[in-house]
């Protein structure tokens, strides 16, 4: 060892505990002297630690496909001017999602919409006993930091506003409603961004 230079092969063998005695001491001294060898040694130790736990196990193709299906291309801006509501695009419908994506803890379904930089998350809960058949519509405007909004629930067949309310400061709102088709109009009150008027055009409850 003293008659030749220390190589990467020597360093790896040393890290792996395959060199002992004088040979190991010579390699150690060379590593201490030579920054390039020291870098090899540090990386080899890091790789050794990382591989000790084995490779990360594979995930089933079904799970991969479900995660890949989350992607939707960004919506093109549909707002024409401030007087026109931006149409919120449906991004997620738990009724159409693979079983493993669904939340098994709720009785109902979830819908996710987006318009511009704003998301509208809705959860439609089936009628509870004694509720007279009314569904519960729980909503959340995101991001919460600019989410205070006036929300109108509009009967799609008559165009009549059946509920009008203001969200909490965190963008949360809840209403009870009969089964049917609705539109949801949302006016953001605390945002400087466009659009400030959003609309979910097709909302099926029930």
């Amino acid at each position: 060892m003293t008659n030749r230079s220390v190589t990467l092969e020597d360093v790896l063998a040393w890290i792996a505990g395959e060199r002992t005695g004088d040979e190991a001491s010579a390699i150690m001294r060379a590593v201490e002297r030579d920054p390039a060898l020291a870098a090899h040694a540090r990386l080899a130790r890091a790789v050794g630690e990382a591989t000790a736990a084995g490779p990360l196990p594979d995930v089933s193709p079904e799970v991969i496909r479900a995660a890949q299906s989350i992607f939707r291309a960004p919506a093109k801006p549909s707002i024409i001017d401030r007087a026109t509501a931006a149409i919120a695009e449906l991004l997620f419908d738990s009724r159409l999602a693979p079983a493993l994506v669904r939340d098994r803890t709720i009785s109902g379904y979830q819908l996710g919409y987006r318009a511009g930089a704003t998301d509208i998350d809705l959860e439609i809960q089936k009628p509870a006993a004694g509720s007279g058949g009314a569904h519960r519509l729980v909503g959340q405007i995101v991001p919460e930091t600019q989410a205070v909004a006036d929300v109108d629930l509009i009967d799609a067949s008559t165009g009549r506003v059946v509920h009008s309310l203001r969200t909490g400061s965190d963008g949360h709102f809840e209403v009870q409603c009969a089964p049917g088709r609705y539109r949801l109009r949302v006016e953001l009150l605390s945002t400087e961004r466009e659009p400030s008027l959003l609309e979910v055009q097709e909302l099926d409850v029930g």
């Binding site: 792996a16 790789v47 799970v63």
Partner: protein, 203 residues
């Protein structure tokens, strides 16, 4: 002259694509970039979930929740932080929710910042050293997959097996001569170093 077996130096390797580039392409609407991100990190998310004590089916759910959050956060992650760190922290937090029996309503999981409001207690907070270990493990795993076999199998075997007589076993299982294992390991490791540096892991 005896025919040489396939050497790692003769294999053509693809340069890994950076997370920044993948995120940029996702934001431009390229579904293939998103597919690559999922392929790249789903194993890590799942493994952390399993490591946190989740059964396999719940770890499957965890993958969906974490990638949904990622999709919703892509633009801000690009500006704020390294993707792998964000994924590890978010995965630990969501795994904690599932493990502790917290209700993970889908609508709640859609909320972008709720993890900050009601995350794990201090004792369950993400340890930076552990986060770093996961990050390194994911990088090395990815680098070895990029490197491919026989190099990857050889390096895994040599680094993980500290027993005497490992050379005999490795030579037998990989069909190599014992005398060529040391030099081949060095050539393979040099290639791995290049990939790891491309991926951002510095010695």
């Amino acid at each position: 002259m005896a025919k040489r077996s396939e050497l790692p130096s003769q294999r053509r390797m693809e340069r890994p694509i950076s997370d920044d580039s993948l995120i940029r392409r996702c934001l431009a609407g390229e579904a293939s970039a998103w597919n690559e991100l999922v392929e790249k990190y789903a194993r890590l998310v799942h493994a952390i979930g399993r490591n946190q004590g989740l059964p396999s089916t719940e770890a499957d759910d965890l993958v969906q929740v974490v990638f949904l959050k990622l999709w919703r956060r892509l633009s801000t992650i690009r500006e704020e932080s390294k993707l792998s760190s964000w994924l590890i922290t978010t995965t630990r937090r969501e795994a904690w929710r599932l493990r502790s029996g917290a209700r993970v309503a889908y609508s709640s999981s859609l909320r972008l910042e709720e993890g900050l409001e009601s995350g794990p207690p201090a004792t369950e907070a993400v340890d930076p050293a552990e986060s770093e270990r996961w990050e390194r493990r994911a990088l090395v795993d990815q680098a070895l997959r990029t490197l491919g076999d026989p190099c990857a199998s050889l390096l895994r075997a040599l680094f993980s097996d500290q027993t005497e007589g490992k050379y005999d076993e490795i030579a037998r299982s990989l069909g190599m001569k014992i005398g060529s294992i040391g030099p081949t390991r060095a050539r393979c490791f040099a290639k791995l170093e290049t990939i790891l540096r491309d991926l951002g892991l510095e010695a």
